[in-house]
Symmetry: C2
């Protein structure tokens, strides 16, 4: 609809996740009217991230070095590994400040329909790390959905033979939530996992 | 939170309109995992739009040339000018295929609180175009909100002295909408503007 460069930008923006045609148009006009230096910084940030960011050779988290800042940090407890699906999940757990161990990023979850089996995930790398006898607990923190649960079950079975403690994050009512609005599955899990007060 | 380049990209994306921190993170990881050539195209589209796109010297619409494709088109009716706030509104009217005249983009609407008065808008340029006696009708298509209505009233008064027909787009019920869910002001306007069947 628009002439050349404006339409090209709208098209490129519209390919990003969660950006519909209206948002793409709004962002394109914002870029058109914004300060040139700011927009060159945005363009550079996009190309830079592809060039500078690698994945940690130990845990698979995003990193600008061979190993990520968490794996390099000697203050992190080497006896615990928290297994997550994506780098985003590492940040989510870090924000809780409740965990001081290390991580392992699988790069997804088992999803037979989507063509993701155990061999597409970084499970072999996890097993290699566990051969080091410093690790005493593996905390499985995959998403509480179908794929995440399948991955947790698979890992649980596989790791149970190694004599390492394997745990899964608790399912239950979200803090600050309302019991009335909880779905049946979550509420059922909250009952199963009830604790003595 | 993230190391260097990833966080820089999240910050830059988060400054775009309608992109919150969660979306910025999701888009940043998409960019990180996407094809390098696609992402270079996105970065180029952002810098290109700033370099290649100008504003039409006649109507103020976005254009890659001195004048836009609509102003250059000899098939467009030179007797009508449709006055809109933004280039986006030109495209919205074009999509209706109901109008074959020309446009004038004001670059905003009168908004005293936001510091936008008539002198910040392209009103002088509009008056210069009207001195050409080819124009017989000015259709004011500013947004149907407070600022748009104020701008329409201001332009209506100013142009009434020139002996040119000045019209305003009809307000009323959106087609396909539900009378029950229309707000009072829209429903009131629909009554005022009722027509014989």
């Amino acid at each position: 609809m628009y002439e050349g460069a404006v339409q090209e930008l709208i098209d490129e923006l519209g390919r990003l996740p969660g950006i519909g045609p209206k948002s793409a148009q709004r962002i394109a006009f914002h870029i058109l009217e914004a300060d040139g230096a700011d927009m060159r910084r945005l363009a550079t940030a996009i190309t830079d991230v592809k060039e500078r960011v690698k994945f940690c050779s130990i845990c698979g988290n995003v990193s600008e070095s061979e190993t990520c800042s968490i794996c390099r940090d000697p203050r992190r407890d080497p006896s615990a590994i928290c297994v997550v699906e994506e780098s985003k999940d590492v940040m989510a757990v870090e924000r809780t400040r409740a965990y001081r161990g290390r991580y392992h990023v699988l790069g997804g979850a088992i999803n037979p329909i989507g063509g993701v089996g155990p061999e597409q995930l970084r499970i072999r790398e996890l097993l290699n790390r566990l051969s080091d006898d410093a690790v005493t607990e593996v905390i499985i923190a995959t998403d509480p959905n179908l794929e995440g649960e399948a991955t947790a079950t698979y890992l649980g079975r596989m790791l149970s033979t190694l004599g390492i403690r394997v745990t899964r994050l608790a399912s239950g009512l979200p803090v600050g939530g309302d019991l009335e609005y909880a779905d049946e599955v979550t509420l059922g899990r909250a009952f199963e996992g009830r604790r003595n007060l």
